[in-house]
């Protein structure tokens, strides 16, 4: 049990970041992260070590996000409520780089949830298509096409912002 507490301390913040990026609200992200760890306790024996532990936890979190959305009857317009601007270390790289990051963040929140999801898993978590397919429960071909559409949507929004 002590080992599991160490797991929480080691990964809670990272999982929170991924959940925040997917869901947009800290309170929702905290709930999903808690459910993720509880699900991980139950499934720890099934962890075969084929992937890194963090990637395995992100896979569980992705499914918890999907379950949360079904429960909450997720609306596409939720992004219009806006994220609190909680950038940590916004001065890293200077004001110009911070502006660029704010652009990406603000555009991410306006994407369709499934597009935001694949971009976070690919670009933030660094998952392979195979890992994403497992996390999302879709074929690898769907992952690739969804990523393509997500990137096109984000490109379009960033272009309109410029």
């Amino acid at each position: 049990m002590q080992a599991f507490h160490q797991l929480v301390d080691a990964h809670a913040s990272y999982l929170f970041g991924v959940a925040r990026a997917m869901l947009g609200r800290s309170v929702d992200a905290e709930d999903v992260v808690q459910e993720t760890f509880l699900a991980a306790i139950k499934g720890l024996r099934r962890f075969e070590g084929r992937s890194q532990l963090r990637t395995w936890l992100v896979t569980i979190l992705t499914r918890q996000v999907a379950m949360w959305r079904r429960k909450q009857a997720w609306r596409r317009e939720a992004g219009k409520e806006g994220w609190p601007l909680e950038l940590a270390g916004a001065d890293q790289g200077g004001e110009r780089e911070a502006d660029a990051k704010m652009d990406v963040m603000s555009m991410l929140e306006r994407l369709a949830p499934e597009h935001r999801e694949v971009l976070i898993l690919r670009e933030y978590e660094g998952m392979s298509y195979e890992q994403m397919a497992e996390a999302l429960g879709v074929p690898m071909g769907t992952v690739e096409s969804r990523l393509y559409r997500a990137r096109q949507e984000l490109k379009g929004k960033l272009k309109g912002y410029e």
């Binding site: 599991f4 507490h5 913040s13 990051k101 670009e123």
Partner: protein, 156 residues
């Protein structure tokens, strides 16, 4: 302007999701296709932007809540496993006691003693079959007559 059909696969190329052969062909194509080359640059910017995002760390109070929830879940699972083990142990003991009782207890002897004499004789002699044990039939018949007579006398 028509979109190059390979533009759709620039993402997979950057993501390292192509075979070595496909990588070679795409590499050559990117050197000659302005559209795909521009797509590559744009996707690299997006990747850098998202990959560089940093979020505020999780609230320490939220982490404490997670620890408590994990502890509680762990205790419940341990208790469930203990109950399961005890139930299995109890079932095993009940089975062992039942087998022991059937094999070694005096129940059969006590039950025998409560039967009427003629029935005990019948059981002991193996009577109940036509043409039963020899030599014991007269004794059984004697018991039967005496027992029935006693019963008849009591009824009168």
């Amino acid at each position: 302007m028509n979109t190059c059909e390979l533009t759709r696969r620039v993402g997979a190329y950057l993501d390292g999701e192509m075979s070595a052969e496909e990588v070679g062909r795409m590499g050559e194509h990117l050197a000659s296709c302005g559209q795909c080359a521009a797509e590559r640059v744009r996707l690299e910017e997006i990747s850098k932007g998202i990959g560089g995002l940093r979020f505020e760390p999780i609230d320490p109070e939220a982490v404490e809540r997670i620890h408590r929830a994990v502890e509680s879940a762990g205790s419940i699972r341990a208790m469930a496993r203990l109950v399961e083990s005890l139930s299995a142990l109890a079932a095993g003991l009940a089975l062992a006691v039942g087998v022991w009782s059937a094999m070694f207890s005096g129940h059969g002897v006590r039950a025998m003693a409560s039967l009427p004499a003629w029935e005990q004789a019948a059981i002991s002699s193996g009577g109940g079959e036509a043409g039963g044990a020899t030599g014991e039939e007269p004794a059984m018949a004697d018991w039967m007559v005496k027992d029935l007579s006693a019963g008849g006398a009591s009824r009168e």
